[in-house]
């Protein structure tokens, strides 16, 4: 395989990492916005968030992506392709993340909120100083799983001609004619990225648990939580 092809794969890797990174940031934003909105006192806010989470958990990410790239221009909007990719992926992962946020907030014991009330914190201070710092710790492991799901979903953008790792893999396959090796190599590549992300998330998990003075599970790779 020539140096030019290796460079292509490197370019593709960068696009994949970009999609994963931006998608994670925007997805986190959607997750918190929708997850907290589902716990709102206002019915309309709850309703919108419910529609978003149920809707995007029922829509295939690939169809959302196709809609943004091929259908939206029919309404007169042309998105930057990378942005369309990030948006489709983060809308999808954000809907699952919203459930994580909601569940984690609800898992904070009622006694914590009562104690904060007894100290006369405002509603916002209770959330910001007591509930969220504890809820976030509970969010880290499931967010780690979602990050891997996001990484895997980035491969879909190759179908709308974004030049990510999978797209460049197809080019390499066409150039070398070595189908089995190329796809296997791609899979190993994604596997290695996933492994690195898993280890990073495990480190975050440790720090998060330590912030509550909790002991942490031993080993960086022992069984993922599902």
């Amino acid at each position: 395989m020539s140096g030019g092809l290796w460079l292509r794969l490197l370019d593709g890797l960068l696009v994949t990492l970009q999609l994963t990174g931006y998608g994670a940031v925007l997805g986190l934003l959607f997750a918190f916005a929708a997850g907290l909105a589902r716990l709102s006192r206002h019915r309309v806010v709850r309703g919108i968030a419910f529609a978003y989470t149920e809707g995007f958990r029922g829509l295939p990410a690939l169809v959302v992506l196709f809609w943004l790239v091929f259908a939206l221009p029919g309404l007169g909007f042309q998105l930057n392709p990378l942005f369309a990719g990030v948006l489709a992926l983060s809308l999808n992962i954000g809907a699952y993340g919203a459930e994580v946020v909601r569940g984690a907030v609800l898992s904070v014991p009622a006694g914590q909120i009562e104690a904060a009330t007894a100290l006369n914190f405002t509603r916002w201070q209770r959330m910001r100083r007591v509930v969220l710092p504890q809820a976030v710790v509970a969010m880290v492991p499931p967010f780690g799983n979602l990050l891997i799901e996001l990484l895997k979903a980035t491969a879909l953008v190759s179908l709308v001609y974004l030049q990510d790792l999978t797209f460049q893999g197809q080019i390499v396959r066409a150039a070398t004619g070595n189908t089995a090796m190329t796809f296997f190599g791609l899979l190993v590549g994604y596997g290695v990225i996933a492994l690195i992300l898993t280890i990073l998330m495990r480190l975050v998990e440790r720090r998060a648990a330590a912030s509550l003075g909790r002991a942490v599970r031993p080993g960086l790779l022992s069984g993922r939580t599902s």
Binding site: P109, G111, Q112, E114, A115, A116, T117, A118, L119, N120, F121, T122, R123, Q125, R129, V130, P133, Q134, V137, S211, L212, G213, R214
Partner: protein
Amino acid sequence: MTRADQITFDGVSKKFGENVVLDDLSFGVAAGERVTLIGPSGSGKTTILRMLMTLTEPDSGTITVDGDNLFQEMRNGTLVPAREQHLRSVRRKITMVFQQYNLFPNMRVLRNVTEAPVHVLGLSQDEAEARARELLEMVGLADKIDAHPAHLSGGQQQRVAIARALAIRPEVLLLDEVTSALDPELAAEVLDVLRDVAKSTSVTMLCVTHAMKFARDISDRVLMFNEGRIIESAPPAELFDAPQHERTQRFLRSLREES
């Protein structure tokens, strides 16, 4: 009930489902008074503290603190359900220590005690810390300032919770079975701290407890609850040594057998 009472309950009732917890209850507590609430479990004692802390609303009746109605406020000349702002203003004088301590695990000991003074009372960080150190010294935990709550014993956690409550300079301190989750030895440490508090401050105390010796030491008055009503009210020496009501006699006998 006299006009001078700081806290008044007037015709307060509460049901949880079919279960009547408080039944048309009226009583008052004077400023600085120490009142212990006793009675079998489910007789409504804890509900009274939770109502004063605005954690549980009554179905009917009124509760006032220093003349302010807890759950209702005047708006355009009519009484309406209190909003958060009103609740916060009445909560300012009151705080509560819980059976399960409820320390914030995301903050170390010192911050547990300084958080409300800084963010609710608006004290400076230095001021709040100086006061917190004093209080932690008083509860005998000066050396645990940087510890995580999770690394403290139950008794230590409860003593931090007491320091945290005192740090906001309450006028009314509610103590909800604060030693029920503790071994006798650890419970004794906590009760000693509370005896100190009773001696050295003038805070009004409402205390739900099964620790009879402690109740006798600190109380001005003991209220015996049964089925959502007060069936006997007297100074501790009177109520413990010569209970009038048959139900009180039976309850005290069962407590003695336990210990």
